[in-house]
């Protein structure tokens, strides 16, 4: 589904990704771990199409197409979803409006009619119950005045509504208390399917107790240093990131 080859990217004059290669297949859950400043968030943002980052080398193929030539909205409509580390507050743009506009943009892309208002509400409320969200959040400004946990649940709500083919969740677990973490993990697990790939970008192993990854990668200084199964995450938790760096340098 996603084939990244030797990807290099920078912001301004600062190189951040220095040759990342990664292959994610449908049905898989990957975890990308790494210390602060390793380039995890940049990788997520580049896949989503943020123009703060310039791609200076390598390639990204998504469903067999060159992803890098697509606008962010085209990527979204074709099934890519980025769960933001810091979801943006947008006062005055109603949550329901965004969910509906996003859903309809995707439906239009797939040649479907706009969702009927009743259907939409039913679907949104159903997903909100699943995530333990109060339906009144629908009528609030996007993330406006939401707590950290509410913002992250709202990201998962958007993902649950949009049913992406490839979800990249950037530090979705950070700042969550245990109840919120469980609710978010439940939301992610309910989307696991043979047709869908999920990439979890995370600093800690904590989320992986609830969402079990198939593959774990360690990113450091803009390169993937090591990949392994879920036991790698546990090993990292125990030994710290320096151990991987040393092993890679050896």
């Amino acid at each position: 589904m996603l084939e990244i080859k030797d990807l290099k990217a920078s912001t301004g004059d600062t190189p951040i990704l220095n040759g990342v290669s990664l292959s994610v297949k449908a049905g898989e859950v990957h975890a990308i771990m790494g210390p602060n400043g390793s380039g995890k968030s940049t990788l997520a943002q580049v896949i989503a199409g943020h123009d703060d980052y310039a791609v200076t080398g390598g390639s990204v193929e998504y469903k067999g197409r060159d992803l890098l030539e697509l606008e962010p909205e085209e990527r979204a409509r074709d099934g890519i979803f980025l769960g933001f580390q810091y979801p943006v507050e947008i006062p005055g743009v109603n949550n329901a409006y965004l969910l509906k506009a996003a859903l309809n943009a995707k439906r239009k892309h797939h040649g479907l009619d706009e969702i009927d208002a009743f259907e939409f509400l039913k679907l949104a409320k159903e997903k909100m119950v699943l995530l333990g969200m109060d339906p009144k959040f629908l009528n609030r400004g996007v993330n406006e005045g939401f707590s950290g946990g509410e913002k992250k649940r709202n990201e998962i709500l958007q993902m649950a509504m949009l049913e992406p083919d490839l979800a990249i969740l950037d530090e979705t677990d950070s700042g969550l208390d245990i109840d919120a973490l469980k609710a978010v993990a439940h939301g992610i697990n309910s989307l696991r399917s043979p047709d869908r790939a999920i990439v979890l970008v995370t600093h800690y192993q904590r989320l992986l107790d609830y969402v079990e990854p198939d593959v774990v990668h360690v990113l450091s200084a803009g390169r993937i240093l090591r990949s392994g199964d879920k036991s790698l995450a546990l090993e990292l938790e125990e030994k710290g990131y320096d151990w991987v760096k040393e092993a890679a340098n050896a």
Binding site: P72, E73, L82, P87, V88, I90, A101, Q158
Partner: protein, 427 residues
């Protein structure tokens, strides 16, 4: 003194040729004053950003072509369009002539008459009000009787325009709300046609003790047209005005809103939204004079600017000696969609009393890139995302507009304007 004068002889002739009625003597007095002062020029502090040269030019060409009066019939198409979408009682003033709606005068608690019928002499305390009084065919007097409550808004629809010759229209309305009365008004300015046009209007509202008015002013003139507009509102004790102004069209637009608080416990809530695109100049001057306290005034203006345009906001609150207990707030926020858009924002507070609470705040910003990317990452295309963000910026003014009957129409025309603006914008 003034460099922006109009030719004496032609102006005198135009005044002389107006319909003969009770306003004749008053016109001559106003004419004499205007001839002395001419149009305000940019040398005056209050006018330094707003150059009326093009308006003087339209007026001059209009006088030279014999001061033609386009018929009210020539704008009937636009009138019908607006009637069809906003279902309230309208008084129609087409090209300066009161053409329709005075039948509403029959309503209980409400009297509508012309200035000439009542021998009401319009005041003139400003050059533009002088010009208005000098060239005014007739004015409209609306009287809301004491303790009468009117839930159905009364609309004032000003439509101007002609296709061939330059046009100038003068309109004037005096609204008197007696003690304890309540009413709602929608003032709508529109125009059509290819020829240059200048509309100069004056609206006065007088609120007696305990009276309350909700007021929405919509200015949706065609791109090439110009206007100067003065609104003077005076409030007695415990009266309330909720006023929202929307400027969506016009090439050169200047609005002056003068509010005089002359009674205790009066409340003034003013909202304003201006949306300007390429080639537009929209200037809003608001002056709130707290002569008596305690009383409260609040004004919030928001602007959305795209292309090469200029907007001006000057909010002034004056707290006179002894007006203790005054609470005056003013704010102005602007969203610039283009690097060539310019806003001149000038908040002013003049405080001569001790026990007051006054504040002001002004901001100028651009579309938040992080918010734009967030919306695009959810599948909204760039135009839709821009429109959602600009709409959100103006939403507080639109949603606080006090008259429900025009809410849908307002939302729609604001949306249409934003669509045009975000499509043009390369921001």
């Amino acid at each position: 003194m003034s460099v922006l004068a109009l030719p004496d002889k032609a102006l005198r002739t135009a005044v002389r040729e107006l319909p003969e009625n009770a306003l004749a003597a008053n016109r001559q007095a106003a004419l004499a004053r205007f001839l002395e002062r001419g149009f305000p020029t940019t040398r005056l502090e209050d006018w330094k950003y707003t150059d009326l040269t093009s308006i003087a030019d339209i007026s001059q060409r209009w006088l030279e072509s014999g001061a033609p009066t386009a018929t009210a019939a020539s704008v009937s198409g636009r009138v019908e369009e607006i009637r069809a979408v906003v279902g309230i009682d309208w008084i129609v003033i087409g090209n300066g002539a009161i053409v329709d709606g005075t039948h509403i005068a029959g309503s209980e608690g409400l009297s509508i008459a012309t200035f000439s019928e009542l021998k009401h002499a319009p005041g003139y305390e400003h050059p533009l009000a002088d010009l208005n009084a000098a060239l005014l065919p007739d004015g409209l007097h609306i009287h809301v009787h004491a303790h009468s409550h009117h839930d159905r808004p009364l609309g004032l629809l000003f439509v101007d325009g002609a296709d061939s010759q330059p046009g100038v229209t003068q309109t004037r309305v005096f609204i008197e709300l007696d003690e304890g009365s309540q009413a709602q008004f929608v003032e709508y300015h529109a125009s059509i046609g290819e020829a240059d046009h200048y509309a100069n209007s004056v609206v006065e509202l007088s609120l007696a003790k305990g009276a309350s008015a909700d007021y929405v002013r919509i200015q949706a003139r065609d791109g090439g047209h110009t206007q100067t507009h003065r609104t003077a509102i005076s409030l007695q004790a415990s009266s309330t005005i909720r006023y929202s102004g929307f400027d969506l069209g016009g090439r050169l637009v200047r609005n002056d809103l003068d509010i005089d608080i002359g009674g205790k416990e009066a409340t003034v809530l003013v909202g304003g939204l201006y949306i300007a695109g390429d080639g537009q100049h929209i200037d809003n001057h608001v002056r709130i004079d707290h002569r008596v306290g305690p009383a409260r005034s609040e004004q919030e203006f928001r602007g959305i600017l795209g292309g090469r345009c200029r907007c001006v906001w000057n909010g002034k609150a004056i707290v006179q000696p002894g007006a203790d207990g005054t609470d005056a707030e003013q704010s102005n926020h602007n969203l610039l969609l283009s690097e060539r858009a310019e806003i001149d924002a000038k908040p002013e507070l003049e405080i001569y009393a001790d026990e007051v609470k006054c504040s002001h705040g002004t901001t100028v910003g651009q579309i938040d890139d992080a918010a734009l990317f967030y919306l695009r990452s959810r599948g909204l295309d760039k135009q839709d995302a821009m429109r959602a963000l600009t709409r959100a910026f103006g939403a507080s003014i639109v949603s606080h507009s006090p008259i429900a009957a025009v809410a849908d129409h307002l939302t729609e025309i604001v949306e249409r304007r934003l669509t045009a603006l975000t499509e043009d914008s390369d921001a």
